[in-house]
């Protein structure tokens, strides 16, 4: 059909090798691409180690804010990904801290509705957070508020309570108080098809109660790419490849930053999901469509085996 929107190109072998040769920066999502929980995707560690050894700039871009970057370094090492440095890891919690410190240049405190890892990234960056103190006398109808709160930040919070929602809503009544979200993923996948409520569900609750829209730090917003560009030299979108498993997060992020995108089928989204967006009459849906599809990141292995053969 003339003029039909393309994308969803299944790619392997020599074509995949050529694509890799044309790219300087590889941006990789983690959950569902490199690992599921504590189990690495077969071949993922070898592929990533080979990419780094072959001089590619590899960065990891994850919306998972439940782990500080130091713990990510340990996880990479534990699962066989050697030589991954702190500087290569861009999590939504780290980038939220950068946003507050460097973009907003926040002067007051931040009310965090999120996990310990999120608070520790902020503290590491010198951004003051409201103390998460127990207040047995506080009720939802009469809760003490901290002074000088200039931002509310929502992330994954498995200790979320109505009281926290109520406090956050009060702070957000001040239009000068910023409303930030680490990400808007509605649910997080675990292994075996199980899911848990995501930051997106908590952000949605707060958007309803405050009547305001959150500024999103993580994918699909561009900000994490801006962090990467400011920390590495010579980042050219045309020479970047974004590899992820979630169309509404990773592929849209890639499209927003004008990067080539690749979907791996080891995670959330499947080929039929991508094809539905591709065939949709709504052109805005085309931003969810990956340029390329591979079954798994391990599909890159032959490209390196070929390279190793040639250099021997």
């Amino acid at each position: 059909m003339a003029g039909a929107f393309k994308g969803c190109q299944k790619i392997r072998g020599p074509q995949l090798r050529n694509l890799l040769e044309a790219k300087d920066f590889i941006l990789l999502d983690c959950d569902g691409v490199l690992w599921h929980g504590e189990k690495a995707v077969t071949g993922a560690a070898t592929v990533v180690n080979s990419m780094i050894r072959n001089g590619k700039n590899v960065v990891f871009v994850t919306n998972n804010c439940t782990r500080p970057r130091e713990k990510y370094v340990h996880k990479f090492s534990r699962l066989g990904f050697t030589d991954v440095m702190l500087e290569q890891i861009f999590s939504s919690s780290y980038c939220s801290a950068l946003y507050l410190r460097d973009v907003v240049k926040i002067t007051g405190q931040v009310f965090v509705m999120g996990c310990e890892a999120l608070r520790s990234e902020l503290q590491e960056a010198g951004v003051p957070c409201v103390e998460d103190a127990e207040d047995p006398d506080a009720t939802i109808y009469n809760c003490p508020l901290a002074p000088d709160v200039k931002a509310v930040l929502v992330g994954h919070d498995d200790k979320m309570t109505f009281l926290k929602l109520a406090k956050a809503s009060c702070y957000l009544k001040d239009p000068d108080c910023l409303f930030l979200a680490t990400d808007i993923d509605p649910w997080h996948p675990l292994s075996g098809g199980r899911i848990l409520p995501g930051s997106g569900s908590l952000t949605a609750a707060l958007e309803v109660s405050s009547g305001r829209k959150a500024t999103v730090i993580g994918k699909p917003s561009r900000f994490m790419f801006e962090c990467i560009s400011s920390q590495f030299e010579g980042v050219d979108p045309a020479k970047c490849l974004m590899i992820g498993d979630r169309l509404e997060t990773d592929m849209l992020f890639g499209a927003n930053c004008r990067l080539d995108t690749m979907l791996t089928l080891t995670g959330v989204s499947q080929t039929k999901d991508a094809e539905e967006y591709r065939d949709s009459e709504l052109t805005t849906n085309h931003s969810f469509v990956p340029d390329y599809i591979v079954d798994s990141i391990a599909d890159f292995l032959p490209a390196f085996e070929e390279q190793d053969k040639r250099s021997n």
Binding site: Y141, F162, A166, W187, L190, G198, S201, A204, L206, V208
Partner: protein
Amino acid sequence: MYLKNECKLEGKKVYLIGSSAMRDELQAVGIQQTGVGEDHISGKQMDWANVDLNPEVKAVVVGFDEHFSYSKLNRALQYLVQQPGCLFVGTNRDTRLPLEGGKAVPGTGCLLQAVETAAQRQAQTVGKPNRYMFDCVASQFGVDPGRCLMVGDRLDTDIMLGSNCGLKTLLTLTGVSTVEDAEAHQKSGCAERQGMVPDYYVESIADLLPALQG
């Protein structure tokens, strides 16, 4: 009533995010519930996803609940995604519950939105502006919509309900919505928003007194 008459849940069980008052209302029509009160799940993430589910639960029902927490949100999500054919009902979508002195707390609408977003599924809501409540009234009393007046303070619930049911609507200015809000809907040119434009408005319900005393 909706759960009993429309969902046919009399004698069945629901997972309830709501108050003890709601529990009592459900019990009065023969519907059992699990979930009222605090909820604490322990363990790792996988334990949360594999939390114990009561196989008798036929619906997730969300109302105002000051004990709302991530644990409850998680349990509701697990019922909706793991229990086949599980129904999903919300009492209403009010964004805020107004209190004395101009304060407000998050309303049921917030809790419902959290569950809907996590489950990627819309609940059937029973409260205003859904016409179900009017239909309940009409079925219990002989009601002619042409001779009804809906009096309320919220354009998006009270006035909208009146419009949905073909009633005349009267906004009082002692609550949430203002004349400016109503005029903004009227000027918007958007057909959906016209349902939130009241036919009449008064400063307060007390303004009706002279008409009633005459």
